[in-house]
Point group: C2
Chain length 354, copies 2
């Protein structure tokens, strides 16, 4: 992502962490195009980042900004991916990392944090409690605060995904980008990237942005529909986009409306089915929160909000390897078979003779 | 890896799977260099491949060869990484995939296979039983056999990692490459890549190759020491390099001896410590079988087989996200704390006032 350094809010001589995020594939996914009957579909595969999620982009910028300002400790609240990416960036740069995670943090994300040597605080309560405590701790203890929706640079780090998409398309904007939304910070980053390029005259228009949320955790989509904020408990397997009060909601609402896009809800089953669909047609393993962007495309097609000829980019924000317990719980473990050809024949339904 | 297509045994017009492995970072790992006092160390980070392991290289070549020969089904035996990578490559190309795995297959690798839509057969017995059954099934049912040590193209796919290392060093050979060894196929691939470049006159020498095995599963190192084959049960957490009878042993023995290298054993604890060391100094999360290559460097330094000035490349063959249960079992889950600054202060040992 540092190839776009001149478009990032960082001094020319600030050292950046050696871990080099970005440069991820924009996959034409030919078999998924056929399956969805959407010939101009692309998958932006940010599962390929160093810690396995898009969050490596903002986290590496956060660590650079912390170095620039002379901090030795960086902290964040996170459901897991932001924390893991911060742990990786801090490890590569040699800064101390303290993360505040909710009790439902996935085992994969926790193990990553432990491997990176981050100090992991599991905070009783909801994500919002971890968020508020992290912000208070940064003020009390003099730590650099990376919190999404609090730290304005995070949108800047996330925008590099749009700079890449535009460059990979030959400095063009797609028609539509679908983005899984929790706090609304990624979708604002996506908007900012295309807006920067538009204002610079490098692209001639900006895409319609569609926010995809879990049906069981949809405060942002409700806000788009004009409903007043409530405080419903999230109920979804998609830990990366679960939350009751989007921390970057106001900015994201403005960005989505300005783009001419909107928002849709997808069920947990639709996300799991999209995860398996992506896997079996492309060989990319995305986590449920990431597969939401493809589940959202199906819903947007049903609603007539995406046309057959639209060029659509689905953002795959995190790796399925971070949430294998979801698949394990859903698909179960196959029964072992004895080492015999008859058992193989029976299990695979193979009838072809030699 | 397809940039090296002219050096691969594949016809000019054979379609290859769209999933594009290789092009992984050669990381200078500055903080790890300091820690190991090895200023010319590099990490070849093959955790960044599409399915999270080096095996994406041979598996994508296998699928291309299967397409070339008109097969519709590809099968392999594997402890997990080869299977997962084959599942991904088959999914991206639209071929059927049947994999034969041992009962100790890690949950992460199993979940990947399920997401890719592979048919997973868990075979009672050891890896060798799965291997023999897979080979028999391929003959009986007309499936393309990707088995390591059986399919000669797998060494060719794996060699692309050496072509990349040499190119990333400016078309030079390092002094030493350390390689985790199970079947011995990766280390033969590494040897073949440098040998090809040497014979073509592109590099002027080849590296010394050191095989690293688990102390509890060391048949290849014992063979290097001249011991006759035995049939000891593997005892190690490093599932990726566990085995009692290396399937590519004869070729690998020749390659390691010819290179002027050798072999070392590392304990499970040394691999776990290396995994945490890599994580906290670089932000790269490697699985224990992969971290063996860095644990091996420590051992080789103690034995005086690597000098201070040697340029050493450690091969990181697979992602730690595939084996998070190992870290979880080792480090445990931190006790949750209540959302209060006092609890944060107590847990982090922070005394700095505002």
């Amino acid at each position: 992502m540092w190839r776009y350094r001149t478009l990032l809010p960082i001094a020319g001589d600030t050292p950046v962490p050696p871990l080099n995020p970005g440069g991820t594939p924009l996959d034409p996914a030919p078999r998924l195009r056929s399956e969805l009957v959407l010939p101009n579909l692309w998958l932006k595969d940010d599962t390929r980042n160093p810690s396995g999620s898009l969050k490596d982009r903002p986290s590496n910028l956060a660590v650079a900004k912390a170095i620039e300002a002379g901090f030795d400790t960086v902290a964040t609240a996170s459901s897991g991916n932001a924390a893991a990416s911060l742990g990786a960036a801090c490890a590569s740069a040699g800064l101390r990392c303290v993360v505040f995670v909710p009790p439902y943090v996935r085992p994969g994300k926790l193990a990553q944090l432990q491997a990176y040597g981050a100090e992991v605080l599991i905070i009783e309560g909801r994500y919002e409690d971890a968020f508020d405590l992290c912000t208070a701790a940064c003020e009390a203890f003099g730590w650099y605060n990376r919190n999404t929706g609090y730290n304005p640079y995070m949108v800047e780090g996330k925008k590099t995904v749009s700079l890449e998409i535009a460059e990979q398309l030959g400095w063009r904007s797609p028609d539509v980008v679908t983005v899984p939304v929790g706090d609304g910070c990624i979708i604002s980053g996506v908007a900012k990237g295309f807006r920067d390029l538009h204002e610079l005259g490098i692209i001639d228009r900006e895409p319609r942005l569609f926010a995809v949320q879990a049906a069981g955790s949809d405060p942002f989509v409700r806000a788009l529909e004009g409903e007043p904020p409530s405080d419903r408990e999230p109920e979804t397997i998609a830990d990366g986009i679960a939350g009751s009060s989007p921390r970057n909601g106001v900015m994201a609402l403005r960005d989505v409306r300005r783009s001419g896009g909107g928002g849709v809800r997808v069920t947990d089953d639709a996300m799991l089915e999209a995860e398996m669909l992506i896997g079996r047609t492309t060989g990319i393993f995305a986590e449920p929160s990431a597969a939401a962007s493809v589940a959202g495309i199906r819903r947007l097609r049903e609603l007539g909000l995406i046309g057959d000829g639209d060029e659509v980019v689905a953002l795959l924000t995190g790796s399925g390897l971070k949430a294998v317990d979801v698949i394990a719980g859903w698909k179960g473990r196959p029964e072992p078979i004895p080492p015999s050809l008859d058992a193989v024949r029976a299990r695979t339904g193979t009838i072809r003779p030699r």
